[in-house]
């Protein structure tokens, strides 16, 4: 019986040749990542209590992205604590206010196929786009991992999700995920979502990251995509070293899946998830006309260069509607620089966008752009649980960068394809 990609990685990390769903195994972790909220501030007192250090500081990456930049004394102290921690514990891979951890890791070539990576954040599945098994863990779990270099896992089942065909204009990986949250539900614990098919093969890495990122919203242990030439090229272009045989990290032909789903990308329309759940999604036209106060382009899932470029396709030459606030928090400082070079940033600012620091920001209910009671926001982020962006009385709609930018222009939710078609008509 063959193995799925996830099973192969877990078996390798467990020092065995084969594992099956439900097996309880101890795995060696190849890399551990944590941020300023979940990492050092939670670890230091426990490490001191244990009298322990990090098992391998070279295999630990720390990213300050939640409380950046400091806006009050509490956040300043948290960030200072992180800087002290990395100095005291010898962590060389430290990214201070340079962007969101899930975007930083691939930007700096930390991920490669076949790795087993533990991340101290629930959107750690993002790394699965690079053919890793990367899952999220809480602070005490991560503490155990950085002390021992290992953890326990119950081997998950794998569900195969294929998308075939080409998107129509204005449809994105984000729309796939909002659709899947509705189609597959959010109760997928002990399952890995393996994506494949011609639509995914045609996608650039930043879109593949969206698919794996929102495996978290499906409730899955992680998402994963087998590496191809694009994966290796991306890793190499970002300073990572990877051999060609990394392409061998893929599921066997006779791998056993718990379930298989296949969808037609050409039939997918832009999707919008209404409050207060990503699974509460429907085609954007079903929500058309809902007035918005704020449009937010941010987060690991929705503010990479690719995402900002999509928003600029809508916003170039247009202005946001009176009374609407458009906030843009690029996912990393590298994204901001690149968007500046390509002219994308200028297009957003010309349209009326306010530029925010790179970090988790309002998506985590922490940074600039929080909502007031009764506010309606459309957002490129991944979660719209009650109170997620600050106020439980606010309404957050989730959508793609196209849909968020189009709503900012219209002042209400619209199908972004109307504006893209207008543009095509004018050209």
């Amino acid at each position: 019986m063959g193995l799925t990609l996830a099973e192969k990685i877990i078996a390798r990390a467990a020092g065995t040749v084969s594992v099956a769903p439900g097996d309880l195994v101890t795995v060696r972790v190849d890399l551990a990542m944590a941020h300023d909220s979940s990492g050092p501030r939670r670890w230091r007192p426990r490490l001191e209590e244990l009298g322990a250090g990090l098992w391998d500081p070279e295999r630990v990456v720390i990213v300050s992205d939640h409380y950046v930049p400091a806006v009050d004394l509490a956040s300043a102290e948290i960030l200072q604590g992180v800087r002290k921690f990395v100095a005291d514990y010898g962590v060389r891979h430290f990214y201070d206010m340079q962007g969101i951890c899930h975007v930083i890791l691939p930007e700096h070539g930390h991920l490669k196929p076949g790795m087993l990576v533990a991340g101290g954040d629930s959107h750690s599945p993002t790394g699965g786009a690079f053919g890793c098994y990367m899952a999220g863990f809480g602070a005490t779990d991560m503490l155990g991992i950085v002390v021992t270099g290992e953890t326990w896992m119950d081997v998950p089942h794998t569900i195969r999700v294929d998308w075939n065909g080409a998107f129509t204009s204005g449809v994105t990986a984000k729309d796939i995920m909002l659709f899947l949250c509705r189609a597959l539900g959010m109760d997928n614990a002990s399952r890995v979502i393996e994506y494949g098919g011609s639509t995914i093969e045609a996608m650039e890495m930043e879109q593949r990251m969206v698919l794996c990122n929102m495996a978290a919203e499906l409730g899955a242990d992680t998402g994963i995509i087998a590496p191809d030439a694009k994966t290796l090229a991306h890793i190499r272009a970002h300073g990572g070293e990877v051999e060609d045989d990394a392409l061998d990290w893929r599921s066997d032909e006779d791998a056993r899946y718990l379930g298989r789903h296949a969808f037609d990308a050409a039939a997918l329309a832009p999707q919008v998830a209404a409050p207060h759940s990503p699974a509460n999604s429907a085609p954007a036209v079903d929500h058309a006309g809902i007035r918005i106060d704020q449009a937010y382009i941010g987060a690991c899932v929705g503010a990479k260069l690719d995402d900002l470029t999509m928003a600029a396709e809508i916003l170039r030459g247009r202005k946001i509607a009176p009374g609407v606030r458009l906030l843009v928090a690029p996912a990393s400082t590298m994204v901001t620089r690149a968007a500046s070079e390509t002219g994308v940033l200028g297009a957003l600012l010309e349209a009326g966008a306010v530029l925010l620091p790179s970090g988790c920001g309002a998506c985590a209910g922490m940074g600039a752009g929080l909502l007031a009671d009764g506010d309606v926001c459309i957002s490129t982020t991944n979660r719209n649980f009650k109170g997620r962006m600050g106020n439980p009385g606010a309404s957050v709609y989730l959508a793609s960068p196209y849909s968020v930018a189009a709503a900012a222009v219209a002042g209400h939710i619209v199908d972004p394809r109307e504006m893209l078609a207008e543009r095509a008509g004018r050209a």
Binding site: L24, S37, S38, R41, R42, P45, R46, E49, L50, G51, A52, Y67, D72, A74, S75, I78, G120, D121, S122, S124, A135, G136, F137, G138, A139, T140, D141, L143, G144, V147, T148, W152, D154, M186, D187, A189, S190, G219, D221, S277, A364, G365, M366, L370, R383, F385, K386, G387, R388, G390, P392
Partner: protein
Amino acid sequence: MSELTSAAGRAWVFGDAVDTDVLAPGHLMKLPAEELATHCLEAIRPEFSRAVRPGDVVVAGRSFGIGSSREQAAVSLKLLGVGAVLALSYARIFWRNALNLGLPALVIPDATRIAEGDQVTVDVAAGRVDNRTTGESWQIPPLPPHLLRIVEVGGLMPYLKSRYGRAAASAAALTGRQSG
């Protein structure tokens, strides 16, 4: 039954997908843990943190704890004295966090047969849940032995202490107290 692995109290019943933003709101994450806990579940049950009593049991539907990896979701329940969570299913990270903190989080297929306010007792080691109000009792899937050991000693920190720490597990650690 051991005090660490049992609970006896009233049931607080919730639906599906109780998420980490209602358990531990992100915009309050800078607050000390005890203060954050007073906001636990307030978006959907404003009286919860004031009215919950030590040993009470949270009963829920599917995907309890979905969302963030923030451990404060489980910390808050523990600080409020919740003795156990009984749900149809859990979000994976929350489930691990709860056990790591010594908060029993058990799967009970008959969760919907427990009503608000029912008197419930839970014996984690024996895998037994009794509804004293209705007289029903259930044998539930036991925790795997290695996880039961973690819960029995009060969480992952005391467990790590006994395995890796230079200090032996202290009495304070055995109460499951966690810093931060």
